[in-house]
Point group: C2
Chain length 167, copies 2
């Protein structure tokens, strides 16, 4: 009985975190559905990142979660060079908007599928970027915490992407 | 023993959520420390909310959490008229930047103090905006979920406020 109760609580925590993640993904998709390719290609504010760059950046960060969470191979590690290690104006050629949207949708679909298979206990184990020694001292640095952190990262850039929409 | 284990897990999860809240508050304070009053008064992008409006908006939303979480009287309900129910260009006179920063700091300090006193079990009870019937069906709509939601709201506008800083 105590194990059942504990599992239920963990599942509740997981649902809280994942439902907030999904909420932000849905809001982002609503926004993407409203933006023309021209709008998405524009700078979010004068001299700031374009929508295209931020879309690629967010997709690459989500793709990186497969590694952090030990969920198997990620989809496209080469995207990191364009959207994480270099700035928007790097001069490196970016994929087309259709390719980027496809990447974004595939990453999200695979992530939703993988996390659905993850056992509740697994979420509270350490993520791959924290050492065993550090995790023993700081057990909140677990896999679920990565999703909380990445949800906020998504919200941060969603606030900027919102500036591409007509008022 | 099973109760102790359960409490520890709840406390761990609370720490995950609150440490992410504090992280975003600290980042916001770092940004505020860098911005001159002139920069904070500017629009975050052409035709978009000013830094002053977003600071008041974030402070008012945080202030509203006292009510949602049942943490007693909020500090300044009149701010909602200026920063929640009306837009930046409403023409309603706004407090000075010093007054707004003072409001922001006082709300954060009182919030930190109040949540420190909240018992772990309390965080998993329903917030005041969800009915008992709905909460029975959706137990993830608890007080802690409000903080997850508000952390993302803070991140969303922090991404916009970041555009006030020099590159």
């Amino acid at each position: 009985m105590s194990t059942m109760t504990t599992t239920t609580e963990k599942e509740l925590f997981i649902k809280m975190v994942l439902s907030n993640w999904e909420l932000q993904i849905n809001r982002m998709n609503d926004l993407l559905g409203k933006l023309s390719d021209e709008e998405l290609s524009a700078q979010t504010a004068p001299g700031r990142n374009t929508g295209v760059y931020l879309l690629g950046h967010l997709a690459a960060v989500s793709d990186g979660m497969f590694t952090f969470l030990g969920l198997g191979e990620r989809l496209n590690p080469e995207m990191d060079e364009i959207f994480l290690r270099n700035a928007d104006n790097s001069g490196i050629e970016k994929p087309s908007i259709n390719e980027l949207k496809d990447y974004w949708n595939k990453v999200n679909a695979l992530f939703a599928q993988k996390i659905d298979q993850l056992h509740a206990e697994e979420w509270f184990t350490r993520h791959t970027a924290v050492s065993e020694a550090d995790f023993a001292k700081e057990p909140h640095r677990n896999k679920l915490n990565i999703v909380i952190n990445r949800t906020n990262h998504l919200s941060y850039h969603s606030g900027q992407l919102a500036y591409l929409a007509k008022k």
